[in-house]
């Protein structure tokens, strides 16, 4: 494989095609997840049980020849189960740090909202700063560190809603939704012999991914579009039933993922459409709504969509 001759657009298309073998009909979601991945953001997949969240996360991990670990979050999971623990070695009479599953390149945090808030928060430092502090020692994480978490909607039994600070660490929140009936029949047929997940293999290498991450940063974003992104984010702060709007971290995520989308489109600069495409997944999960708004059927997604319809688009 001649990497130098392959454009970022082709690389990304290759990953997407690989994932498509396993999970069909989710091209738009895959495109956004890849954008988050190469722009250095983490992804939260929120949907009903059985919609393919975990399969998608695993397919992504396998498509990239990266180190992959999964942690199944349960109510009795402790922070040390995620981060690692120092164990006393009687041989040399000293403590040795045993790294937890967070020390990997791609971490699948499955059903993250079933763990207690304490354990959920253990990921805060890792996700935001790419390092882990245990017992006064700071351990750096891989350059590629990427968390893809799944969760059932918070109204389900045995869940703890993620703290707002933790939510803010995710660049995107996506819902997969149920696929069309034809696609669902295809899923049945595809799994008759073996799960397609077992068939796929890595199609790009870690250096490719690092190259993509570099190229994302090179995508140009004009001051006007930065302003547009900021206008969208600021508008969430003044919307009526919103208790807590999106912060500056959201503006950053919005521009970074838009740059990644531009790269995926083979563009050298961000277009307003990229920002609009990614606005709902980037902004909606960061808004805390008043209780009465939830009862009257107003959703965070609806608020962001309204904002997109009211703020004039640069053209």
């Amino acid at each position: 494989m001649n990497q130098m001759a392959t454009s970022p657009q082709e690389l990304l298309q290759r990953i997407a095609a690989n994932i498509e073998q396993v999970i069909s009909g989710q091209a738009a979601a895959v495109r956004k997840i890849l954008a988050a991945f190469i722009s250095g953001g983490h992804v939260l997949l929120e949907d009903n049980p059985g919609t393919g969240k975990t399969t998608l996360a695993k397919a992504l991990a396998r498509s990239i020849g990266a180190e992959f670990k999964r942690a199944q979050f349960t109510p009795d999971l402790l922070p040390s189960d995620i981060l690692g623990v120092s164990v006393f070695n009687p041989g040399d009479q000293s403590f040795h740090f045993h790294p937890g599953p967070v020390f990997t390149q791609i971490l699948l945090a499955d059903e993250i909202n079933r763990a207690s808030p304490r354990t959920q928060s253990a990921l805060l430092e890792a996700m935001a700063e790419g390092q882990v502090s245990v017992e006064g020692q700071t351990h750096a994480l891989s350059e590629l560190f990427f968390v893809i978490a799944t969760q059932n909607p918070v109204e389900f039994r045995g869940t703890y809603p993620l703290p707002e600070a933790q939510m803010d660490r995710f660049a995107l929140r996506l819902s997969l939704g149920y696929v069309a009936p034809e696609a669902e029949v295809e899923i049945l047929s595809a799994q008759e012999i073996a799960h397609p997940l077992t068939r796929i293999s890595a199609c790009i290498s870690v250096p490719d991914v690092l190259m993509l991450k570099q190229r994302v940063k090179a995508v140009r974003a004009s001051a006007e579009l930065k302003r547009y992104a900021v206008d969208l984010v600021r508008a969430t702060r003044g919307a009526a039933p919103v208790l807590l709007g999106a912060g500056p971290r959201a503006s950053l995520a919005l521009i970074h993922t838009a740059q990644a989308l531009a790269l995926a489109d083979g563009e050298e600069f961000v277009r307003p459409e990229h920002i609009r495409e990614i606005a709902v997944p980037v902004l909606a999960h960061r808004l805390a709504l008043a209780q009465e708004a939830k009862f009257s059927g107003i959703t965070a997604q609806g608020i962001v969509e309204d904002i997109l319809k009211t703020i004039p688009v640069p053209a």
Partner: protein
């Protein structure tokens, strides 16, 4: 405007048909619908809409004051309601001609301007304006089926268009028709019910100072305090030779039936203006043949429509009155056809009153119920032996000496009628008692007499420089046939006037000043109208309105590139010179504008089927690079964008051939 095309115009024209203001309606309809065909828009912010709304509010108050002083209530309220859509038309037009598709609610509510809602609510004025035109059309109060038909059609139109998809048009139309027919039937039924009620309980419908020339129901026999209002109904400027009190006659009656005076066979005869007259202009009417009118009384009267005139005795001519028609009955009541509100006339008083008919046998009739008491008093006074002049003097003396004025009356004792009780026992009552008793006593003495009603003018107002006549100055007296002519005889003790005035409330002077102000303005407006100033107040109002309009639109240049929305306005971003904007504007003129919150590629995808849209993809890419790529276009590419955009424009002219 989110109403279906021409719905607003139809509503405005319907209003014009109902109110008769065709020109205003046609102009409003054209202005409201024209934006569908004209691309030019103003870019107005909420602050500007607020100014337009304030302008409408000022207009509303100015017109309300003008209408109140010109027509009085309740006519002013009806007229204001009728003109409401025209008053708020500036706001509706501001929305129709602006780039905004809806207004912030704070434009309409002052409370929201100070405490804005966390999430602003937008209101499109189109349907509210539509409803206002229909409601205002109803204020014209044409009670005919055409109104109902028009209203039904106009409301059915948007309802049918907005019906749920699950209803087929014929079913929805059928249901609307059924509702309309049921509504019409119900409305007819209500009308019948009202007519029946009015016939069954007439006293519920009796109005304040209105005079019924056929019948006068007196307060005789009513127990308790007689209350009448302070309202000024007449202003009387009299020749100095006319001494107060001036009895202003409205109607006379000749038959008494247990508390009610009735005018029998008093049919009205039409009077022709002297020398003919054109409709609506002031003219003179001659009531009798007196050669030389000797005195003049000018009256300014306030009425609620088709009044019976208040005239001094022996009125020979009525001048300066803009009535449509005038008629008079044999008992001297003069009624005119005139719209409600203030009107003026001059009464020329002569020396005789040949116009009123000579006495009839009814002018000597005494009802059986009162005959015994009347005969008793007539005998006591020995009236049979006296000359008519002596009879008048004796009767007047009798009432002055032995009776007193009272507006409070108890129950008559001993099974007597109230009038017999007044003559024989209580000897206290109000003017209706005195007048009725006097009529019957004079008739017992063989003198034909009638019961006359009207007003007694004797309160001089320094403010008005005239006598003012209030509702409580309503009076009753006697017209007696003495010496071949009718003479006014008033036997009520003169103290009645002071007794009535004693009951004035403390705020009465304030009400008088208000009444005077209203009268003065109305009189000034009428004089201005006579001088051809057409409306008078208009000349004060016009500069004021012009100033307000200028203040609203000041500094607002016409934004011809309306369809580009906010882009290109006051933003220092690069690439604003792109020729792609010309294409966008041309597309908007061709009816495919880009929405404000629609990115260019989304817009192009939406209009992909339109001619010329396919060719725009490449141009849009160049435009985007010019606008959003910090690296920008090379000089050659910039030139390509320019030339290709211009050639596209040349290929897609505004008027397709």
């Amino acid at each position: 405007m989110n109403t279906p095309p021409f719905l607003l115009a139809a509503a405005a024209l319907f209003w014009g048909a109902q109110t008769g203001n065709w020109l205003v309606a046609a102009a409003s309809a054209a202005l409201l619908e024209a934006p569908r065909y004209v691309a030019r828009r103003w870019h107005l912010e909420t602050a500007e809409f607020i100014r337009v709304a304030d302008f409408c509010t000022v207009l509303l108050f100015a017109i309300a004051v003008y209408l109140y002083f010109t027509f009085g209530n309740p006519r002013a309220v009806t007229l204001l309601f009728q003109w409401m859509p025209v008053i708020v038309l500036p706001l509706a037009l501001a929305q129709a001609w602006s780039t905004a598709r809806a207004l912030d609610l704070s434009v309409l509510f002052w409370s929201l301007r100070r405490n804005p809602m966390r999430r602003a609510i937008k209101l499109n004025l189109a349907y509210p304006a539509f409803a206002l035109w229909l409601l205002a059309a109803s204020a014209a109060n044409r009670q005919d089926a055409a109104f109902y038909l028009g209203l039904t059609l106009l409301t059915a139109w948007p309802l049918l268009l907005a019906r749920p998809r699950s209803y087929a048009a014929p079913i929805a139309a059928g249901m609307l028709l059924a509702a309309a027919l049921a509504g019409f039937g119900g409305q007819l039924g209500l009308h019948r019910l009202q007519q029946w009620l009015e016939a069954a309980v007439p006293e519920w419908m009796a109005g304040g100072a209105r005079t019924d020339p056929y019948r006068s129901t007196t307060g005789i026999g009513t127990i308790g305090d007689l209350k009448l209002s302070q309202r000024i109904v007449l202003r009387v400027e009299a020749d100095p030779a006319v001494s107060a009190p001036i009895l202003l006659h409205r109607a006379s009656y000749d038959d008494y039936l247990g508390g009610t005076w009735v005018a029998r066979d008093a049919r009205f005869a039409q009077l022709a203006p002297v020398g003919g007259a054109t409709l609506g202009s002031t003219s003179a009417w001659k009531l009798n043949d007196t050669r030389e009118p000797v005195l003049q009384v000018t009256l300014h009267e306030d009425s609620d429509g088709n009044p019976v005139l208040s005239l001094p005795a022996n009125t020979a001519r009525i001048e300066g009155l803009a009535a449509i028609e005038m008629k008079m009955n044999a008992l001297g009541a003069v009624q005119i056809e005139h719209k409600p509100g203030l009107f003026s006339y001059r009464a020329q008083v002569g020396s005789s009153n040949s116009a009123y008919g000579p006495p009839t046998p009814r002018d000597l009739g005494i009802p059986k119920a009162e005959a015994a008491a009347v005969a008793l008093i007539a005998n006591e006074l020995g009236l049979a032996a006296l000359t008519p002049a002596q009879v008048l003097a004796t009767v007047k003396q009798f009432f002055t000496d032995r009776f007193e004025y009272s507006t409070w009356l108890g129950k008559p004792a001993g099974g007597r009628t109230p009038l017999s009780g007044f003559l024989l026992a209580t000897r206290a009552g109000h003017c209706e008692y005195f007048a009725s008793a006097t009529v019957l006593l004079l008739r017992a003495a063989g003198i034909p007499a009638r019961y006359a009603t009207g007003f007694s003018a004797q309160e001089w107002s320094k403010l008005d420089h005239a006598y003012v006549v209030r509702e409580r100055h309503a009076h009753a007296w006697v017209r007696a046939w003495v010496g071949g002519a009718w003479r006014d005889v008033d036997t009520t003790p003169p103290t009645w006037f002071a007794a009535e005035a004693a009951g004035s409330p403390w705020w009465s002077p304030l009400a008088d000043v208000w009444s005077w102000a209203r009268f003065s303005l109305s009189a000034w407006s009428a004089r201005a109208g006579e001088r051809g100033w057409s409306g008078g107040l208009i000349w004060v109002a016009l500069p004021l309105l012009a100033w307000l309009a200028w203040r609203t639109l000041r500094g607002r240049r016409a934004d011809t590139a309306a369809a580009t929305g906010e882009a290109g306005l006051n933003r220092p971003w690069p690439g604003q010179d792109s020729e792609f904007y010309l294409i966008e504007r041309r597309m908007a003129q061709l009816g495919h504008p880009r929405q404000n919150a629609e990115a260019v590629t989304e817009w192009l995808a939406r209009i992909a089927a339109q001619p010329g849209a396919a060719a725009l993809q490449r141009l849009a890419r160049l435009h985007y690079r010019h606008r959003f790529d910090p690296a920008g276009l090379s000089a050659a590419e910039r030139e390509t964008l320019r030339t290709e955009a211009l050639s596209w424009l040349a290929q897609h002219p505004l008027k397709s051939t």
